[in-house]
Symmetry: C2
Subunit: 221 residues, 2 copies
Amino acid sequence: MPSDDQAPTLAASVPQPDGTPERLRRQIEFIIEVDQLKNVFRQSPLLAADRRENDAEHSWHLALMTLLLAEYADEPIDRSKVLAMVVLHDLVEIYAGDTFLYDTAASADQEERERAAADRLFAILPNDQRDHFRALWDEFEERASAEARFAKAMDRLQPLLLNYGNRGGTWRTPGVTDADVLARKSVIGDASAELWSYARTLIRTGADHGWVPRAEAGPRS
Amino acid sequence: MPSDDQAPTLAASVPQPDGTPERLRRQIEFIIEVDQLKNVFRQSPLLAADRRENDAEHSWHLALMTLLLAEYADEPIDRSKVLAMVVLHDLVEIYAGDTFLYDTAASADQEERERAAADRLFAILPNDQRDHFRALWDEFEERASAEARFAKAMDRLQPLLLNYGNRGGTWRTPGVTDADVLARKSVIGDASAELWSYARTLIRTGADHGWVPRAEAGPRS
């Protein structure tokens, strides 16, 4: 493994053939390096199999959802830009790891860890693509545009569907209540009133079924 | 499980809340149904972990590659359309299964199986989105546009990178030679001369290293 913090790790183990043009070589190294996203596991359980979801599958699911649900955006959005955002939004977790939405301790230094990871990962790319990807990721993180808000809404709605379909999933994490879920998911409403209405119905139905405890049912941990 | 061939299977096990609007309900059912793509496994081994790749991860990887490599397309392409194609190109395998590129027996009825799967799967969607997704998938399958040819090139280049990085991978399938790989991958050249030149270099380098047998080295099975 290289000691340089800016160097790729996985891609360094796959030397490119002599004569590969410099620009293409950097692009291919990035494509190889991000294979690791398939090995970053989230807390959310799949519906289709008895295992947790990984970030690559999750990102694909958001892209598919964007194709189908873009019509619900309350503001005009450039669908192509949303697709780019959801495809790359979790790449920093290759180096920074997945931070569970309901883990407040890990969330404390999440921003710093992810920014360092972005510096390191995107540096593999040619400079123009490095800057473009970084700008898209910053915009997503800051919810600084209609596209970023819609991408973030997809990112929050998708695990809600997995938890609802699994009759609980990560809703059953000790200490989590329906009020926590509502609070963490409210950013959906910044992108789409209709999808936020649907999301609230899912959470309410989940609480009705006992898949997530109600906030008033007991003390908060 | 429903007996109707046109009905969803997984989505039927996740009833939507009362009052969900009909159009949104069909879209959400589709989003749930396609969770199964994460459970369709390909022959290709990952680089980042010791297991085979699934279709959802693969589709995400193609979307990421499209973002980086679109500049190599020999014809003008609408990147947004390519992204949509690669996101949905393998959905039919949820019902039809993955057909290995070098399995000529399974390839015989592949087209028929996949068309039946497309009829069944896309019927879950609202009619306008059903028709749109089906048209995109048909266009991809027939390589009927510059976008379809580029999407297909991504689909062929990605496992080449995995095999090269794994010093063989599915290139080591009994009976497969470098000539077979070159023949199956030549559609890359229909989309991009530069990427096809790079792909040929990978295959030649793989043969030089003994990761794929040369066609002249022995009889073909």
